[in-house]
């Protein structure tokens, strides 16, 4: 039973304690949902898309501080971006934006990347 919160930097703590994009979107254009097998984290992303661009994005995450902060920063990174640009966002960008994560928490940032891809796939499959 370890208490390791001191390992998170200020940027991570800011996104964890005061996430701007937590929540749900009513009638979203797309939804992505991922279950992280590694630690049981669960994430959902809701997208509103207009003219090929991400007009609004919200997340819901059951996870640790790193998972929640990664979720929030991902939303910040892709809001207003085109779907093609959004597909370019990977966990390395998330980690960079957060100013780093503890080594054992790096996998938490993959959750956001995968869930966003899932949501975009959901959108594209509906468009076809």
């Amino acid at each position: 039973m370890k208490n390791k919160f001191e390992q998170y930097n200020k940027q991570v703590m800011k996104h964890f304690l005061k996430p701007k994009h937590a929540g749900k979107i009513k009638n979203p254009d797309a939804v992505g949902r991922i279950n992280n097998d590694m630690c049981g984290d669960l994430m959902e992303i809701y997208l509103k898309i207009e003219g090929g661009k991400i007009k609004d994005i919200k997340f819901q995450t059951m996870g640790c501080a790193a998972a929640i902060a990664s979720s929030d920063v991902l939303c910040e990174l892709v809001l207003g971006k085109s779907l093609e640009e959004a597909k370019e966002i990977d966990n390395k960008k998330i980690i960079r934006e957060l100013g780093g994560l503890p080594l054992i928490k790096l996998h938490c940032s993959v959750l956001g990347e995968r869930t966003l891809r899932k949501a975009i796939e959901d959108y594209e499959s509906k468009e076809k």
Partner: protein, 382 residues
Amino acid sequence: MKQIYLDNAATTQVDKKVIEVMQPYFSEKYGNASSQHLKGQEAKRALEESRSVIARSIGARSDEIIFTSGGTESNNLALKGLFFANKGTGKNHIITTKIEHDCVMNACKWLEEQGARVTYLNVDEQGFVDPEDIRKAITPETLVVSIIHGNNEIGTIQPIGEIGRICREKQVYFHIDACQSYTKARINVKKQNLDFVTLNAHKIHGPKGVGALYIRDGVKIEPLAHGGRHEKNLRSGTENIPGIIGFAKAVKTSRNSDIKKMEKLRDKLINGILKIQNTNLNGPKDENRLCNNINVCFNNIEGEAIGGYLDAYGISSSTGSACSSHTLESSHVLKAIGLSDLQANTSLRLSLSKFNKEEEIDYVLEVLNKVVGKLRRMSPVK
């Protein structure tokens, strides 16, 4: 910001009275207890007085107490020391449980590599081991039964009196790890038929780096550290005199009324938390629970995240969540009482000390209501 420390199962604040009595043993009475001169004899006297305080507290004799560096060393010394002292006798079977502290569990795993056979007994949903399961597991090869007296995660206090009777009757040694239960639950080596008892100081407002092992008179073990023949040649190394003095003072300053006080605060905290929807208490809810332990699952949110929010409010806690472990594995104790990995991830442990106050509990409940609500709104699982 106000700090509320509710991680006393990890370690405790050193009592000021303890620091006070330790101080001279750093600066003035710094002698080596093995030295013949006055300074050495001064240290020796203090060492032996401390030993008798520890011995009396568990109904033992002074010469049955060995000072060590803490709980981990005492547990290792008891199990490995006993195993190696009995090598070649055919007694190579160890019985323990699935809810031991890592130091007992990993010592047992290592001993398996050295030729020991280890039985890890199941516990029930509250964490109790069934004494009859112990009786059934004992074979002619059984050397020792090793049980954690008060569980560090879920607070279960095992029926050691009953287990001790069985062990004595079957003529196998009985070791208890009493790191969490010492000064909080009754320990009497004679009445409970104990052969080994692991004790430590820093869980009871003493200093870190000091512990003790009770070894019943006549029981032979091998030392782990060889050297200057200190501590009856069972634990060589110059004695940590200031630490040992502090350990004894911590024992002397603990009061039965502290237990009552903690029980009251514990029950207030448990009842307050269980009023929050979708919460479950882990461990027993009766007199067989450590007076300072609270362990709760807040379904659908992670313990690590709850702890992170509490920390931001100045409240220190702990969790059995995989997310906070070095190995990304959730607590083996919570899994042993039947929780899934997902459920274990939602657990939060709060552990009290005699220094906690009722108004702190009110504040913690208020904060918990707030942060649990917030995290649940953030969670996709409803």
